[in-house]
Amino acid sequence: MVREVLPATVEDTLLVIGYGSLMSGFGLLGEARGGRGRLLACEAFPVVLSNARRGLQKPSNHGRYLAMNLEQRDPGQPLTGRPAIQAGPGELGALALRFERRFARQIASREGHDPDQFERLIERAKRRGCALGDWLLDLAEVQHHDLQAYGRALFTATGYVSPGYTFCPLVLDGREAALVAVALDCRPPSDALAGVNGASAPPALLGLGEAAALDGRALDCSAQLDYIVECLLAAVHNISVRDLTAGIEPGAPWSAELQRRLLRAAVGEPALFLKAASLDPERYGKRFGKPDVSVARRFCEPGFPG
């Protein structure tokens, strides 16, 4: 179903894979941040990612909470994806977003990447006669798809390392290289980043339950819950977040408050998503099916999201 409506490659656009807060209208429009970091895509369709695992790990650029990060399962293989709504075993649900070129600076800012440096990357690829994703994929292939090595090669090529996320290539349906923002520690060890807001990133990718239960001294627990809501709202659009919710304990101390925020946000989520993804209800229905706000209620039930 989704494969039939996969849009053709559009010149002068940026195809970005959202796997955290970019998977919901609430997150794309920055509703929890007063509209800061708001992004409007010109196209969106569901994808499932392979050779990837995700979790909360990176101190956010926007507050004292942990944001999502992505890792390769096999560092010798590229991150890949295919347009689909049903995630198979080992696959992650995510959202492909196509943005007009004019949103480049906002995309960079949102990912904690210098906007000028991102503009330079795009121009550099253009001078080579290719899309940014294709150029980055060439770089990654030379490094045998080891993203840490890719990050160092990108640093060598550009002299810049992002204090936030680094744009990495993700091969979509074997034919187009999309961009996916990954937090890499790609400087030499002596020059390693200390982490945003003075905090060091935890060594492991955390599940949503683990992050919500973290000690609140260093983290803004309320902001953490809002961020988790931005991610979980993807389930309203039938995007699989099973990997994130696995291990959540029904009845955990924070779960009632998270559910309350999720329920309230879910009511407005379908309309926000249509707006953020420039979709009309008919195209939305063909790609995502019927919005399911009941996931917000079922959140704490075993087997969520079903």
Binding site: Q259, R260, L263, R264, A266, V267, G268, S294, A296, R297
Partner: protein
């Protein structure tokens, strides 16, 4: 002076009532949902007069997501 209360009656498919109840309860003290006529799946939302605008906005948003059929306002 006693607070003025209002109510809105509507019908909703029974399988969706649990979702509606959870959503209404997530808006702390905004409104109370009661079953009015279980055989006709008729429900009633009770709320303070000053909450009417918020309740109407919520119902308008919910009407985009579930087939809520209003049957009267008192």
């Amino acid at each position: 002076m006693a607070a003025a209360f209002k109510s809105i009656a509507f019908e909703l498919a029974p399988e969706l009532i649990v979702d509606l109840k959870a959503i209404v309860e997530s808006y702390d003290n905004l409104a109370t949902l009661r079953t009015d006529d279980p055989e006709r799946h008729r429900l009633k939302l009770y709320f303070a007069e000053e909450a009417e605008h918020d309740v109407e906005r919520l119902l308008a948003a919910l009407a985009q997501l579930m087939p809520i059929r209003r049957v009267g306002v008192r």
